[in-house]
């Protein structure tokens, strides 16, 4: 399969560094374990505010030396006191530095409008708690693949031209979340763009 050849021609990606945000002790412990088993580096914080501090987005300019701790994925609970997961998502997408980091929302409640709201704001995926190992593995593969797709764009110009041509014509049915109807995701959010990119590569 062409994709496998393309993927294997790149050096193995370094470990993903995931920032997990959840106000629940129990859930933080569980998500940390799930991520570590999936060979990710994990940093857990207990609130959206702490997450912003960690990223250096809280207005405190003293923490700008965070380049070494590059975060590849943010996984956050939706319902948290103070900044909700949704509000955290918005702040990240508003940041020119961090908006490219995929953000995944977790929630114990399967509320359709909430899911759509998050996906529209640019969430990569929406996971229903309790989060399973399969969810995390799928997520990791998604992030790794789109990371490689980004790499391909910068290192290999000709496939990029083909990809960009197919950009508009590819179908937008997404494969990621099983908790929302893909047909409502036609808008050009960042996450659906990434999805389109993947689908053209697989063609």
């Amino acid at each position: 399969m062409v994709v496998a050849d393309l993927l294997s021609s790149f050096s193995p990606s370094p470990e993903l560094h995931v920032l997990a945000v959840d106000d629940s002790f129990v859930d933080r412990k569980v998500i940390e374990r799930l991520l570590r088993i999936s060979a990710c580096k994990v940093t857990t914080v207990e609130s959206g505010t702490r997450a912003l501090q960690y990223l250096g987005l809280d207005g405190d300019t003293g923490s700008s030396g965070l380049k070494d701790l590059k975060v590849n994925l943010i996984v956050t609970d939706y319902s948290m006191p103070g900044l909700t997961g949704y509000e955290l998502l918005k702040k990240i997408k508003e940041s020119s530095v961090f908006r490219e980091i995929p953000v995944v929302i977790m929630s114990s409640e399967n509320i359709q409008p909430r899911i759509e709201q998050c996906m529209t704001e640019g969430a990569e995926d929406f996971l229903l708690k309790p989060v399973k190992l399969a969810d995390v593995k799928r997520l990791k593969e998604l992030i790794m693949r789109s990371g490689e797709a980004e790499e391909r764009k910068t290192t290999n110009p000709s496939p990029t031209r083909i990809l960009q041509n197919d950009f508009d014509s590819s179908s937008s049915s997404t494969s990621s979340s099983s908790f929302h109807d893909g047909s409502s995701l036609d808008e050009d959010t960042q996450s659906s763009k990434r999805m389109k990119l993947e689908f053209t590569v697989q063609d």
Partner: protein, 145 residues
């Protein structure tokens, strides 16, 4: 001894104290992390004791702040779900239903039941983990290497 551990675990599932989430957590254990579930469980009971205390105090005050109670219970239900505490979770759901209906008496009644279930589960899990430790690593579900 290992058979005893297996039987205890089976009965906890059969009687509905635990659900498949507990099994999912056991599958995350390995030689490097052989006590993961016990650690999560300890965290859960510590955390839920705090919540029970908060709720007790809120209820004792007499004035029913249903929003606050519901918020506590949302947390309680969340962590109960994460550990697979099936019966406790069910009581949390019922409590929240009463909160939304503004039914103070229903809340009080359900909370008593919830505390009972919580206490029962704690004792049963303590017993289970104690035996499991004595029996050695074979009985708990393991993640294939």
């Amino acid at each position: 001894m290992q058979r005893q551990v297996a039987l205890i675990k089976q009965s906890l599932f059969d009687q509905g104290y635990l659900d498949e989430q507990f099994m999912a957590l056991e599958e995350l254990q390995d030689d490097a992390n052989p006590n993961f579930v016990e650690e999560v469980s300890a965290l859960y009971f510590k955390d839920s004791a705090r919540l029970i205390n908060n709720i007790d105090q809120a209820l004792e005050r007499g004035s029913f702040d249903f929003n606050r109670l519901d918020s506590y219970m949302h947390q309680f239900k969340g962590s109960s779900t994460s550990i697979g505490a099936n019966k406790v979770k069910a009581e949390c759901t019922m409590f929240r239903d009463y909160c939304r209906a503004g039914n103070a008496e229903g809340c009080l009644r359900t909370f008593q039941q919830l505390k009972k279930e919580h206490s029962t589960l704690r004792k049963k899990l303590e017993h289970y983990f104690q035996l499991a430790r004595q029996a050695g690593p074979k009985e708990t579900a393991r993640r294939p290497k």
